[in-house]
Symmetry: C2
Subunit: 437 residues, 2 copies
Amino acid sequence: MVKGSFVVVRPDKVLRDAVVVVEDDRIVDVGKESELKGKYNRYEVIDGKGKVVFPGLVNCHTHAAMTLFRGYADDMVLSEWLTKKIWPIEAHLKPEDVYVGTLLACLEMLKSGTTAFADMYFYMDEAAKAIVESGLRAVISHGMIELGNVEKGEKEIREAERIVKSCQGLGDGRVTTMFGPHAPYTCSPEYLQKVKEIAEKYGVGIHIHLAETKDEVNKVKEAFGIDLKNKGVIEYINELGILDSSVLAAHVVWVSEKEIKILAEKNVKVAHNPVSNLKLASGVAPVPQMLRTGVSVGLATDGAASNNCLDMFEEMKVAAIVHKAYNFDPTVVSASEILEMATTGGAKALLLEKDIGTLEIGKKADIVIVDLKKPRLTPLHNIVSHLVYAAKGDDVCTVIVDGKVLMENHVVKVLDENKVMELAQKTAEDLISRAQT
Amino acid sequence: MVKGSFVVVRPDKVLRDAVVVVEDDRIVDVGKESELKGKYNRYEVIDGKGKVVFPGLVNCHTHAAMTLFRGYADDMVLSEWLTKKIWPIEAHLKPEDVYVGTLLACLEMLKSGTTAFADMYFYMDEAAKAIVESGLRAVISHGMIELGNVEKGEKEIREAERIVKSCQGLGDGRVTTMFGPHAPYTCSPEYLQKVKEIAEKYGVGIHIHLAETKDEVNKVKEAFGIDLKNKGVIEYINELGILDSSVLAAHVVWVSEKEIKILAEKNVKVAHNPVSNLKLASGVAPVPQMLRTGVSVGLATDGAASNNCLDMFEEMKVAAIVHKAYNFDPTVVSASEILEMATTGGAKALLLEKDIGTLEIGKKADIVIVDLKKPRLTPLHNIVSHLVYAAKGDDVCTVIVDGKVLMENHVVKVLDENKVMELAQKTAEDLISRAQT
């Protein structure tokens, strides 16, 4: 039983002096302490007095292992950053590097209140191993780049199938899978359709980068000779039959009104990455317009190479402020909408809406506790405002995933923090020295 | 003597395994440990192994006591926010409220590595009391609103003079003063000129809000019937003879190329407030253009009512990413430029360039230490990148101001944290209940 001075059941339902009752991995009751405490007085208690208890945050698009490249190269033009810095290192990545990088990412996310994430990268069975070890929940996908090369495409499908078959359901069901065709400019239309077909066969979703940069239409033309004319990338990919409710589309910065309607109609899940989009100068996604049109939007950090953190509190704050200035309207994207994006929006994006995103009865016990006794959270006028505009990842003191306490009073119970950091430093140094010789 | 695995003497000069030698309130030596340690082996040592030592951050525009309104009202149109929420409360502010709010602000800033700030508000002798107690450095100004009312204007001048006379030099010189005419739309042109004249008489600077919102030109016309025609607010105020190197101009969002040149020529100090400008939907200041033209730019949080934190690490990160997207150029405003803005830029803004902003010999010992042993600061490839893009206020473990250790290993030595928070909560509650009855 988790007690809190405040319990955020959902962003629009905050209870004072309430409890969340957990049995095994599920929430079995939630309500005012005064009404429930007699019923569960033999349950073990985690005391959140002076604290706020809320649903674990969901980071719905990242490349976890890229923590190894954090701060390795910043302030560069995207193409140069990729070709001169990131790709030359990635060419030297070993499977165990992905394990270490993902473990570091899990540690960082866990400590800052993220309980579930969507990951796309390579050597994803190594990533799964780290996720299982950390106790977090994640949907993983092998990132597939085909570039019209049939042989490479087949190889990528075999690897993606291997990941789906070997990793789906690992860690008591905490690991699920998707197929990860990288983007419309790195996968040919026929290939995208083929991957979609296979994903349907396995009954899993598709995780893809869509409309991240303004010139993506040109990149499709360059790669495959396809002239989209006046169409955008979303229209193009919709006409290929790819879009439906099992698609997790990362970024979606450059979309027309018409395309926003398509995203809403098809119930596509959008992962909004404000920090990465700003840092890489990709632009600002039309999130207020998407929300108004009924598009399902979650929040995400992207990889640490372009962020450089994996902190959903930071992401919430930046998302809450950037659209106000961009639309010259301080009323758009309220604190409550942001908290929804970071919880229920993310749950939908991971196709785990039935299991996570709120602290309602029947949901998985993915619970975060923030200590309110901090100068920056003083005084307290409004709990949701504080979570979005004032709290930081470091205010998270306790994290529970699947009913298991992963961190309590800032002490991580599942991983040896110092060991993970030492291993990550050494791994990153080795990797760079391999790449430079 | 402060030892560090890294010492950032200036953003462009980072030493490995170095020491900063302090005698009383000043830095008397700095260099590689291997070269200096014999010379100072009897000095007391603060050990920064595995840590980075750098110049204290400078928050060059805030309204410290507004911490009391943190999270009281968000996501509102500026005029409504002011008239329905902020002003009705401010009307009930008592002097002791300002003391408490400022004390809370000092605690928050101190814990997140800010060693000096520029403050503009009311009852500034109460603010000064809190600043002296906290050990921080600040330049304070009484915020003057005249609105063409001669009597009110005179009263404000008397109060501003009282503050300058009674507070200049308090706390062993840590408190300095400026005059604070609020803005060109709340102070008539004659009044601005009069205040400027008096400030010159006292040999202190002017702290003023300039060109914060797009409609400021209209607001000047509404208030004083002055039609600026094609001129901007900066041109207008320059023609009044107000601008020179002792003016600290907050915001400066809406400025033309021509006005940017004026700011550079007159050596005006600009306080850039990215989070507040985004949250209030004011816009994005043309910082890359200002830097290119040679304008002196510092970084600031504005008040907690419109931020809602006073955390310069957050401000550095938002400033580093927002201009990239706004200019579609990921190379503008580099990590190093940001760190300069937050240190030497702020030092210039406070007119304390000779005393603070770097860790060079002869400067005041205003020193911050960040612990690098954090998942989000792992691995370490580039120290300046980490300080700007990955570190958070909570990574600050030790803070020294004027040679005095104010916080060591996260333990604040000068204030009782719990007492300050309790007092602030109670003060805010009392204030709101007074305002609501």
